[in-house]
Amino acid sequence: MSEEIVLNIEKVQKKFGKFEALKDITFHVNKGEVFGFIGPNGAGKTTTIRTILGIIKASSGKATVFGDDVWKERVQIHQRLAYVPGDVYLWPNLTGGEIIDLFLKMNGEKHTAKTDELIKKFDLDPKKKARTYSKGNRQKVALIAAFSQDAEFYIFDEPTSGLDPLMEEVFQSEVLDLKSRGKSILLSSHILSEVERMCDRIGIIREGTIIEQGTLDEMRHLTRTQFIVITKENAQDVQKIDGVHTFNVDQSNSQKVHFSADADAIETIMKFLTDKTILSIQSTPPTLEDLFLGYYKQSSNLTEVSDHEK
């Protein structure tokens, strides 16, 4: 096992009775990278994370963190790991401050100046009892405890679902700070802009299976760039090139065409268009959202990739 791989999951399956929550989960997180784990609700993100944490046991497959088995060596692994659950529930009778300290102590750490700084940044009143906290405030408690912990691997399960945009900013800057210090992060989310901004690599999960993983750039090859082109000569024949999809001609201007193109066809297209004398060209690279929506529609057929960016 390479020292550079923090989390490695191979062919993990999890069955609850007859229900197969995880069918085939295979991915890894490298040291020092932010890995985005995206998928719709109920796809198995939280189940995967709970398996990684040794809270539930995989039915089959192999999962290791720092090279150790996640089920057998969970206590040692947790020593070097910080986790923020998707739904944070706290003991109503304790204050936020008490819970933060408790969480730190449970991992042998202490309340430091960093903790105070985070409490200020996240604008939390630590003297209030947890019963008075909103969802966002409960999330802040878990985030503050996690960020002030000096771990090597951080797992966030939909961490910003209850935070307001200002606090989302704080969260993102803290994650980028961790990254700059060489920490590894697994970030589960369905807020795509967040993943797009922070993650080096992403994995897409659907119905218990990782269907795609890689860097965002690699993924973009899998989808299409949107083009809007105005040419001097009629360029409608561009639709005959292999790799051009969803072609149509602008209703008010027959010289203006809209289409999407596969990455490997772009060179041919550009040569063809240049011959027709390009007057104006707009191209929009695919966003994660396109990717995600494509898979979300349960389609392996790329023609259904959303072209809402047009």
Binding site: R50, Y89, I99, K105, K128, K129, R131
Partner: protein
């Protein structure tokens, strides 16, 4: 007002649907218990001789403390039934009502469901009225089932009026405590506190009526719980107590309604908003965490059982004074014999109530272990699972708290008994050793109950309700076992049947050791299961 009750009928149906299995199980268990005992009674107390044999026992202070004090002459089996069964059945009804009342009001609010419902076109008061209706229906149904069951039980001396008086009287008593539960659910902002306070009020009344029953039964009229003793079924048939219960229920309901209408959803009259900014150095791991979470309730239980002990102790002079009831005895048997007889009565009293106190001390102990599942289901433990803590460590946090609260509150009750008992006795004090022996013999019954709960929570948390069945059965068998002449083996199905009636008899160290070994075994299997299962 119309807006206020909008959706009431809808909620009513929804709630009844939601609780249907719960209600069915309670109703079957309680009505079955009542009818079963009623049908059995003619067989046990069908002859004057059999009644005579229990008469002296029932007039002993220990039995008065448990079953109440009655003037009715015991001639027929129905007479025994109509007196001695009342307090026990009232306790069961009260437990059921507190359970439902808190659950369907504050419990729903704790889960955030009330908020969800209030967001719809449902009147502000609809929830409250629906809960009230549900409680009335439950108690009315059970009252009718009891009445019919008794009427057709075939006991000698049963009359229709008397049967309905007992049935509806118990229903009214249930409703009364249902309203206590509802009021507490309005005052406190979490269901745990509301339940504890409801039981606290019940506990005060129970102890008060026990005190007046032994000292002066007429004063029992001052205690609402004691009203059930005053119905005089099959003879005087006094409906006044039932009327009083209903009236008091209405008053409590009105108070609850008043608070319900003025407060915000999710809040209570008594709330604490602020606390410490930093954790104390004590709060550092699962063990101290559970201790901290349970601290208030632990202290309340210990103090409450200590008070219960002192109350029992404070009547020792009345109990241990045979001369009061039989002045010629000293002349016939001599002073020494009288004192020895007094001593025996006291020891018997201690042996009976120490079992009851052990059953009571098991309550907080089971609550503490079963909290492992509760906290898991509420999601409180999700973050803790990802910490560098072994599962054994987390498990032991709950277990240790359970053992401490169970054992210490039981010890506190015996201490109360010892201090108050010796304070009122003019001679023939019971030595501290007597109580130490009682503790040694009885405390393992508490740890076995804890072991049962630990096993269930470790292996199959969904079945942890079985621990309550175990304790409930033990309570039933030790409370009523003698009265309804349960066979010996059936009382021995529970740890409480193995105490060897210490201090009346000496400690059976084999029983004690076996009970401790069983406890240890149950806990080890539970912890083993907890380490290897999914925490979901």
């Amino acid at each position: 007002m119309k807006n206020n009750t909008k959706g009431y009928l809808f909620l009513n149906r929804l709630n009844l649907r939601r609780d249907r299995f719960n209600i069915l199980i309670w109703a079957l268990a309680l009505a079955g218990l009542m009818a079963g005992v009623a049908f059995k009674f003619e067989g046990i107390y069908g002859t004057p001789q059999s009644i005579a044999s229990i008469q002296t026992t029932l007039h002993s202070p220990a039995m008065k403390a448990l079953f109440g004090s009655f003037d009715t002459a015991l001639n027929k089996s129905s007479d025994v039934f109509a007196t001695e069964m009342l307090i026990f059945m009232a306790i069961v009804m009260i437990a059921m009502n507190i359970y439902f009342a808190v659950r369907i009001t504050r419990g729903e609010e704790d889960k955030g469901l009330t908020e969800l419902i209030s967001a719809h076109a449902i009147g502000r008061g609809a929830n409250f009225y629906a809960a009230t209706t549900e409680l009335i229906l439950i108690n009315l149904t059970l009252g009718i089932l009891y009445s019919v069951g008794i009427q057709f039980s075939g006991m000698a001396g049963v009359t229709a009026q008397g049967s309905w008086l007992i049935g509806l009287g118990l229903g009214a008593m249930g409703l009364l405590f249902g309203m206590v539960g509802m009021l507490m659910a309005q005052l406190f902002d979490n269901s745990r506190s509301a339940t504890i306070m409801s039981y606290f009020i019940f506990g005060i009344m129970y102890v008060a009526r026990m005190y007046t029953d032994i000292k002066n039964p007429d004063q029992t009229w001052w205690v609402p719980l004691g009203w059930i003793e005053k119905i005089d079924a099959f003879h005087g048939n006094n409906w006044l107590p039932v009327l009083l219960m209903v009236l008091l229920s209405v008053v409590l309901w009105g108070l609850a309604l008043l608070y319900n209408r003025t407060r915000d959803i999710g809040s209570g009259l008594i709330t604490v908003q602020f606390g410490k900014q930093r954790a104390s150095w004590l709060l550092r791991g699962p063990i101290t965490l559970v201790e901290r979470l349970q601290r208030h309730s632990t202290i309340i239980w210990i103090v409450a059982l200590f008070i219960l002990g002192t109350t029992y102790g404070s009547i020792f002079d009345t109990i241990g004074n045979i001369l009061k009831t039989n002045p010629t005895m000293q002349q016939v048997f001599g002073k020494a014999a009288v004192q020895s007889a007094n001593h025996q009565i006291l020891l018997n009293f201690v042996s009976v109530i120490s079992v009851v106190m052990a059953a009571l001390a098991s309550l907080p102990a089971l609550i503490a272990v079963n909290k492992l599942r509760g906290d898991n289901n509420r999601g409180y433990l999700e973050s803790v699972y990802a910490k560098a803590l072994s599962r054994t460590h987390i498990f032991s946090g709950y277990l240790l708290n359970s053992i401490v609260v169970g054992i210490v509150s039981f010890a506190a009750s015996l201490l109360g008994l010892y201090l108050a008992g010796n304070a009122v006795l003019t001679h023939g004090d019971l030595s501290l050793n007597t109580y130490v022996h009682t503790f040694v013999a009885v405390a393992p019954t508490i740890t076995i109950a804890i072991g049962v709960a630990a096993l269930l929570n470790g292996l199959a948390p969904r079945l942890n309700w079985i621990s309550w069945v175990y304790l409930g059965y033990g309570f039933f068998a030790s409370y009523l076992g003698k009265l309804i002449k349960m066979p010996d083996w059936s009382t021995k199905l529970n740890g409480l049947g193995w105490t060897n009636e210490v201090p009346l008899h000496s400690v059976n160290y084999t029983n004690v050791s076996v009970m401790l070994l069983i406890t240890l075994g149950l806990i080890i299997i539970g912890a083993w299961g907890y380490r290897r299962r999914d925490l979901d």
